[in-house]
Symmetry: C2
Subunit: 461 residues, 2 copies
């Protein structure tokens, strides 16, 4: 374990050289132990600025289209742009060299002593309508804070460390998620999709990106792609978005696999008509077709027989949407995910069959059934899982290996570099809602594990 | 039949005095007959200005929140106010004395020779989202044109004739229909409901009315109510909004009863959460509760066993409405109607029971189940049905007695005066959609029957 020794050396030297002031910041109970690891723990525990991080999380949450405590931050809107400026300023104040790519991914680099592949970390700060302030944000502001902590303890990176804020991990605006990380990974179809993508107000992706100062004249989305040699590894800190860690009283989750979603868009069209005048036998109600399909989605998911299969009809819009008008058009957006790709795709096929059956039985036209994306699940990189696990152990935190049922930018980073994730507990597993919450104690533990993991990976040959 | 004779006299005199120019306008085939009735027919046929009426229908359709051919005209919006100005100008140009009440009902009166109860006619011009240009409009512009035609043939009203444009027959903005006619009829609950009513943007009814120049400081909604002595009868011209007349090749439908709706508002609330992270057993999806209830509405309606029972879930909104977010809240608006009040109310009760069952089974909170309105169906007044039937016969049009499955302002006018309706065919029964259509030939026939019916009622002692 040369890398670790190197770091222990750094840390011990730093401890010896620490000022009284710095020492006072250390929780005394951590100073009782005396191994190298505990030194790092003491160092990092004192080095992570919980109050500063809390302040930044709260300040970032104020850039929202909906009132607090909810957070709504949609790709390339005014609040998204303000949040980006906030992140770039925070990166600079942490001494990072900031750059952006054509799609708006933001990179803050701490140059290492060696010109070799880089260790990446980061997440996103966009938020779906009426979401909370921790999803994604903890992995961006937390990563910047981890860099600050490593500086404080006098760490010197061998491989450069790079904090990444990914563009639009959420699919809200263009119905397609992880735009930034997909583009970095050189996803074959993402470029074509984005060129044709329109939001609900018929604003094209290109137009929206330009208004935010990206994808300038002459710039090409393909320029966002990075080579497989760019990163030696990537690690993302994130709230669990599920109840397991909290229920089991475990501080840290180390992700070994990420479930992947299939996203579907379905449109039904009927004749509509007046709710009083058209008798039941003469109707073809697009809204009822949609309602039946939503119920069928749940049935097919439950029939998979695996707890790991989940399916959600998150969008159900009917048109014209008046109490005395028979729904003429219905639009559904469905999310199906699993850690087993075949099992997930079988559910998608059953949903398609149900849509066709409902369309025939109700004489409602199935205008479209689009599989928007159907990504394969990912396995974490062994080196990342090892580094995060030992970091957690050395810091004295109880951790467990688990899978991520939510997908993240890590799913796509894993296509170009060994990738892993560090989860922290969140209250009752609530996420994507205003009362999403993780305690600062849990967040600080996550930042410490992230910092030590980054240190290990930076020194790993 | 003193009243008719008096009118025949008027008409015959007018025919003798008709100019060549006027005569040329008469379809010659109508001049071959020679009874008093045929004279009236000849007179009215020539007197109704089809081109002028078509132009007015097209001009009014341009006041819309959505592009042609669709028409969207919501209560007290800019386009609604423009349409009101257009109607008042049209009334004035027809020589009517115009006034408005506190809720914005518009009255155009042709003063009769006797100070006695008045004969009313009219309909509405508001339109639900993405509707057509004939629903309601034909009954307002058609009534004004009927007045013009009666003037042309030299008719002199004994009872005053009054054209009414009712405020907000559609429930779009405040979830409650026939505001103007309910208020005129002195509906017990309408005043309280409107005082508390808010639209989806949290604008109160009172605030909205004020911006449109109604319900001024010190004005009271109760002032809109009229006494049972005000009108001697009311008749409304309307497109069928069903396919019967067209299918059977019948020009005129005489309405003997109006089905009445019960309107329901239902809200479900669950915990929401991330579409990937929350496993199926731990969900309480408000969107699926809504979908199941919409399907149950259809089942209960079909189970009533009567073709006259109809039920529609016209509004189904889920929140937050993102593809990767479990629906946390769902709002439904349901319309159930029948000509049999008890049968309709039994269906409403079954829907309520289903809502409770779904709520319990899914552990989703049934936040509200409001019966917004539950009006009794209405029988037409015999005098009105008689007058319209004989008018149709005398004009040589095939007519049939039928019921109105859609409800109209007539439902509420029937509470204060004998009321009836005259239906004309509309293409395939399409209504509340952009391709709603009635031919000018059918509209002109309806206007002729309305004119002669008004003449008869005006002279009826």
């Amino acid at each position: 374990m040369w890398a670790l020794n190197a770091f222990v050396l750094v840390a011990v030297l730093q401890l010896l050289g620490a000022t009284a002031g710095t020492l006072e910041a250390y929780p005394s109970n951590h100073l009782e132990t005396s191994s190298g690891a505990s030194c790092e723990f003491a160092q990092l525990a004192g080095a992570v600025d919980a109050d500063g991080l809390r302040t930044q999380i709260d300040e970032l949450a104020t850039f929202s289209d909906t009132p607090a405590p909810s957070v709504t931050r949609i790709l390339y809107t005014e609040n998204d742009i303000s949040a980006r400026t906030y992140i770039k300023d925070s990166m600079k104040s942490a001494g990072l060299t900031v750059r952006e790519d054509a799609i708006g991914n933001i990179f803050g680099r701490w140059q290492g002593t060696e010109e070799t592949s880089v260790v990446g970390t980061g997440s996103h700060v966009d938020a779906i309508p009426y979401a909370g302030k921790y999803d994604g944000v903890v992995g961006v502001l937390g990563a910047i804070e981890a860099i600050r902590a490593l500086r404080k303890v006098g760490f010197t990176p061998r491989r450069s460390l790079e904090v990444i804020m990914f563009t639009s991990e959420e699919p809200t605006r263009f119905g397609f998620g992880c735009l930034g990380s997909r583009a970095m990974a050189g996803s074959r179809n993402i470029y074509e999709i984005l060129e044709g993508a329109m939001d609900k107000d018929n604003i094209s992706f290109t137009e929206a990106a330009r208004t935010a100062g990206y994808l300038k004249e002459g710039e090409d989305l393909k320029s966002v792609a990075v080579t497989n040699e760019t990163y030696s590894g990537f690690v993302e800190l994130h709230i669990e978005q599920g109840p397991t860690l909290e229920n089991e009283g475990i501080a840290i989750g180390i992700i070994t696999a990420i479930a992947a979603p299939a996203s579907l868009k379905v449109d039904f069209k009927g004749d509509g008509g007046h709710a009083g005048a058209v008798l039941m036998p003469f109707r073809n109600d697009a809204g009822l077709a949609a309602a039946e399909l939503a119920v069928a989605v749940e049935q097919h998911v439950l029939a998979s027989g695996s707890i790991d299969t989940v399916g959600t009809t998150g969008v159900m819009q009917i048109h014209p949407g008046a109490v005395n008008s028979i729904p003429r058009e219905a639009h559904l957006e469905i999310d199906v995910r699993d850690i087993d790709e075949d099992r997930r795709d079988m559910v998608v096929e059953k949903i398609h069959q149900s849509a066709k059956d409902i369309s025939n039985r109700r004489n409602v036209e199935l205008q479209s059934f689009d599989v928007v994306n159907q990504d394969p699940p990912a396995q974490s990189g062994a080196t990342i899982v090892e580094a995060a696990t030992s970091a957690s152990d050395e810091l004295g935190f109880k951790s467990k290996h688990m899978i991520s049922r939510a997908y993240h930018d890590s799913l796509f980073m894993s296509r170009i570099t060994p990738t892993g994730m560090i989860f922290i507990p969140c209250h009752k597993g609530y996420s994507h809602r205003p009362d999403e919450y993780s305690s600062m104690e849990d967040i600080v533990r996550g930042v410490q594990v992230l910092a030590l993991t980054l240190a290990k990976l930076s020194h790993k040959s």
